[in-house]
Symmetry: C2
Subunit: 324 residues, 2 copies
Amino acid sequence: MSGDRPKRVTFREEGPREGFQIESQLFPLADRAALVEALADSGLASIQVSSFVHPKKVPQMADAEALFAAIRRRPGVHYDGLWLNERGFSRARAAQGVDLAGTLLAYVSDAFARRNNDCSAAEMLARQAHWIDLYAEAGVPLSRAILVTAFGCCFEGEIAPERTVQTAVAIERLCRERGQRLPEITLADTVGWANPLAVRRLVGLVREALPDIAIGLHLHDTRGLGAANVMAALEMGVDRFDSSVAGLGGCPFAEHGDRGAAGNICTEDMVFLCHELGIETGIDLERLVEAAQLAERILGRRLNGRLMHAGSLAAWRAAGSRAA
Amino acid sequence: MSGDRPKRVTFREEGPREGFQIESQLFPLADRAALVEALADSGLASIQVSSFVHPKKVPQMADAEALFAAIRRRPGVHYDGLWLNERGFSRARAAQGVDLAGTLLAYVSDAFARRNNDCSAAEMLARQAHWIDLYAEAGVPLSRAILVTAFGCCFEGEIAPERTVQTAVAIERLCRERGQRLPEITLADTVGWANPLAVRRLVGLVREALPDIAIGLHLHDTRGLGAANVMAALEMGVDRFDSSVAGLGGCPFAEHGDRGAAGNICTEDMVFLCHELGIETGIDLERLVEAAQLAERILGRRLNGRLMHAGSLAAWRAAGSRAA
């Protein structure tokens, strides 16, 4: 299987949004802009900066426009925004400095769709037709469809891989029917159910069903299997992952609402994994670790990343070769 | 490769020693005894309780005898102790409730041996002959040889796998020459250098060189690759791991001496991995998570384990089937 590992992997950084959206406290705009700039300086090619959601519901993201405008932009970096309805999309289009990408959203779990979106999974899927047209009209290229609860759901339990494949096939067909090409399916382990075998199985089945579409993974480290799941995906040839610096983010469905439960897979730890395997990422790991340490200073508490506390191997390797 | 996964895996719990030895504070004996008892009640078959080392150098372990004596023993559990010299071994033999096992210790890195033991790796290896005889005289069966810095060393850098294989072969020969059979080689990633490919390569090479000896792994999660390394080992058929409840322990060689750097791989997270893969462990995961939560209460700060904060999938699965 090792021959299937990609030569190069892309990490899409979601820490600035995931990390601060889950906080009850508000953090200064200047700090968040500095974090985005530090992440871009490390070589990350895609950074989700903020979301255009209701400012009363999510006050942490109320200053999305101002934050995007404040960022010293680095050429070649995609500064991503998130929206969940047309109002949000309009705000993102009107804002300065948002790199628009047409993201579709589908639920595999019906119960999760109802809780999160107040509609069935089938209704949510049907609504994507409107988004496909909207993006086309706005000249925003389709980027990907994210399949929420692709591995399991805290309300439905296990999600049979066939259901996820069906959802993937359905949304791809929807794009084709409307004259658009869907470049990527992102399988999201929204609530931390994936394990390495499930990753292998699901990636294999989706690829079999949709051989011409790239597969991305959005993984969480909720139950400590994040690194093992990334490794399984790499050996299936997956070359794009959503992740969060310092492991920022959390899990709204953790036991007893534990606000410190682990969030997304940690960008720098997974970049380290890739580099140790000889896979290129285009990222300067030492600078990324510095960005993780900046995130920790901003949030003012110990974060979940490992490498940011232990240090990478670069200094030890250099010392070892000097000693030799 | 998946056909090579073992049907059953044994976890050797080291949290009670690793976790408290690294603390600057002393914790009440009753709390530590309660933790050992909770771990035994979860079904763990081997628990390292304390070490018989110099009470002035390691005051946290000064009450080793009293701790062993205080534990309500559970039949079938191996209550392990650690010693590094003959004085410590005598104390362990004289103490009540210590299940003696003859552990040998060898360094692959010479620089690490000098720092840790004030002798060369070759001298340390030669000294093991005396330990083999000592164990035989005392009627203590040889259990394993632990190869420290088997993957890398913070003073020497990368450790070529051939050097680790040589050390494994040398210590096995030493046992044979003295009429003893070495049952296991434990490859220790002492300072967090291993990655999944390195695990595969080294396990493969050691097995090739010593096909009749079991291979165990002592892994740390220092740089976030613990779960990926365990998965790689499982797929090589490795069926025994040292680990720490709640990820207790740390790394004395972390950057800037960061005392919160990740320690050993987390027992309950790795038991969860095994169970999700259909591998038996003999452990009641829910009770083990409770033991991890007890460890957190005793230490009074957030610990590194993931599952202990997010909760296992058992309750969600049950809710899912009720809803279905």
